[in-house]
């Protein structure tokens, strides 16, 4: 098995890194992104593409379970590191590579893994479902009307999952609905946010947004004791994540690099000019504007009604406007403009800025196509790493489309 050994060693020079961020894990994520970039490690979109799972910040009980499920989905060779702050990152990455290269241990790990629901009764699906035979009873119901609620099949199928149920559609049909939970761990996703959606096809019919876990820390971005460039860096970070989802990885890369140089030293004269250049480049891109225009429109007065302040309100427009607003405000912050409130806005009527953003999510994503909904959420980018936010967010009522 010397060949395996050599291939693994060779491949371990460029492992794919999956970052999962828990509220409060911002500094760890930033450090991990920075070091991964310096080493040329690509980012994984999900566990199937990942070699190294890096958990940034301290997971709550619920998030710890989600981390385990994510870890279970990573194919071997795999290694997992837990990052609490920025300092331990280089060592942790070295440890991750060493673990990947340890072929005997990886073999052992791979051999010892059991499929999910291994004890489940997977043979029962073969039971006789005579009533699914479509020619009896003849003619009294058509296929689309044929229910299956009476078959009690939830336990019969492999994996212990259920068959999808049906619900009325927005154009009067009754077709299957799929319940999908977006988050807590998706690429470029606000840490700790969960949006429960009901999908028909790829369109979001219903949505609930809430925070999954309270952080005991306050928001790292809004920490007044931090370095001066932090506000600019926060906006660049949000912009980078949106650009990544919008499929423009080159611009996202530039935004992340600039974010890190701002955090290193915000007073470097060239940096502000570079941010301005990035802003101009993003503004000029027709393909980006054409893809984001009219998506998730949030006029300023509507934003005020919803208690939203900060860049999302000042942008007074759609996803594209909010992206440009971040870049403009990042540039302004670097030029000494003192922003009002936190990076996400101010507290309005007892609700923090991020709470207001989370509450607005269902209204904006209902009726949208799934990937469009992802972009809208990224363009709001609430920060749940705030002890005031997560505790108090209950499931908001379903917003009606219209």
């Amino acid at each position: 098995m010397a060949l395996t050994e050599r291939l693994v060693r060779f491949a371990a020079g460029r492992p794919h890194l999956l970052l999962v961020e828990c509220p409060g894990g911002t500094p760890a994520r930033l450090a991990a992104e920075r070091h991964a970039r310096a080493r040329g490690w690509p980012r994984a979109d999900g566990p199937a593409d990942a070699d190294v799972l890096a958990v940034c910040g301290a997971p709550s009980t619920e998030l710890a379970a989600a981390v385990e499920l994510t870890w279970d989905a990573v194919a071997g060779p795999r290694s997992r590191i837990s990052l609490r702050g920025g300092e331990d990152v280089p060592d942790a990455l070295e440890r991750a590579v060493a673990a990947l290269r340890d072929v005997p241990a990886q073999r052992l790990d791979a051999a010892g893994r059991t499929p999910p629901d291994a004890g489940g009764d997977t043979g029962a699906a073969e039971m006789d479902h005579g009533d699914m035979n479509m020619d009896d009873p003849p003619g009294d119901m058509d296929h689309a009307e044929m229910g299956h609620g009476d078959m009690d099949m939830d336990m019969d199928l492999p994996g212990g999952l259920a068959m999808a149920d049906r619900a009325p559609d927005r154009d009067g049909l009754r077709l299957d609905i799929l319940h999908l939970q977006l988050g807590p761990f998706l690429p470029a996703w606000p840490a700790g946010l969960v949006v429960d959606v009901t999908l028909q096809g790829d369109v979001v019919q219903e949505a609930y947004a809430y925070g999954w876990a309270a952080s005991t820390a306050s928001s790292w971005w809004d920490d007044a004791a931090g370095p001066p460039g932090r506000r600019a860096a926060a906006h660049l970070d949000s912009a980078a994540r949106l650009l990544q989802l919008a499929g423009w990885s080159a611009a996202a890369y530039t935004a992340r690099t600039l974010r890190d140089s701002v955090l290193d030293d915000a007073s470097t004269p060239g940096t502000a000019a570079q941010v301005a250049r990035l802003g101009a480049k993003v503004r000029r891109s027709r393909s980006l504007r054409w893809g984001l225009r009219d998506l998730g429109a949030l006029p300023a007065e509507r934003a005020v009604q919803l208690g939203i302040s900060g860049p999302a309100q000042r942008a007074d427009g759609d996803v594209h406007d909010r992206l440009l607003q971040w870049l403009t405000e990042a540039w302004a912050a670097l030029n000494g403009a003192a922003g009002r409130g936190g990076t996400r806005g101010e507290q309005v009527g007892g609700r923090t800025a991020s709470q207001a953003l989370i509450a607005a999510i269902p209204r904006l994503v209902i009726g949208q196509e799934l990937a469009g909904a992802r972009l809208i959420i990224a363009s709001l980018d609430p920060d749940l790493a705030d002890r005031d936010v997560a505790d108090t967010i209950a499931k908001p009522a379903v917003a009606q489309h219209g």
């Binding site: 491949a11 040329g40 199937a48 194919a75 919008a246 990885s249 990937a371």
Partner: protein, 306 residues
Amino acid sequence: MVEQAPAWAAPLALGLLLALCVAAATFDAALAAGRGLAGALRVPWQEAARLVVQQRRTTVANDPLLWRTGGVSLLVVAALMVAVVPWGDWTLLDSAVGVVWFNAMDVLLWAAVWITGWGANSAWPLVGAHRFLAQALSYELLLMFALISPALGAGSLRLADVQAEQAGLWFVVTMPVAFVVFCVCVLAFSLWGPFAAPIGADLGGGVLAESSGVDRLLVLLGRYALLVAGAAFAVPLFLGGGEGPLLPAVLWSVVKTVLVLGLLVACRRRFALLRPERFAELAWVVGIPLVLLQILVVSLLVLGRS
């Protein structure tokens, strides 16, 4: 004149296809993050080694037959597209309807990508699969019209004739719209750059979200192979085939293929995603009238000549 190559040349053609895949992957890695060519040389091989070693994944209650067939099909389709391409004076399949052959092969991708997404029995790949079909419904007619323009110009569906017709004046000069549309459609069926929506990060990897190991490697390799096949096909259609000074014709074909391929690969860094729900209207309402005008111009040229 173009001759049918003997069957033993098939492995050579496949070797050329795979070599160009590696070149494309290297170029893409070099463009990413400005790590330079030296740093990029290892990248495709590291990826391949990683995915060969990596454990494969399956999901509960999946459809392995469709899932794996779909994953393998991309590479197979790309190879079959390359079969009709004349490399200088040689081709593996000198078909009288070579243009239609390419079209039929590209349609196989509809099924291939869809079943790859469906087979995983997972929400994100399923949405990705449907996004691909929506994308395909938008680009397919454009591709057909872009393929027809050079065939019309040459009065033949045989690639050898199309290539020969361009001695002196390449079709890219008289049919620039068709050439651009063709390149766009190659990006679209290769799931590349602005058309990577079915495997986009906004869907957590989409069609590829549950694939790892060799299964994933074959899809990724297949994407590059489709880009290569598209680039290789553009050469006899629009760029005069093997025509050029000094070098032998077959080398000119390869050189031109490499240039087109580099252009296609670079698009990934340049553009944001064109999401299918936006692209549909653009393709139908702007794209189709535009290529039809191109065809009108070409047919007037043909009438003027005869």
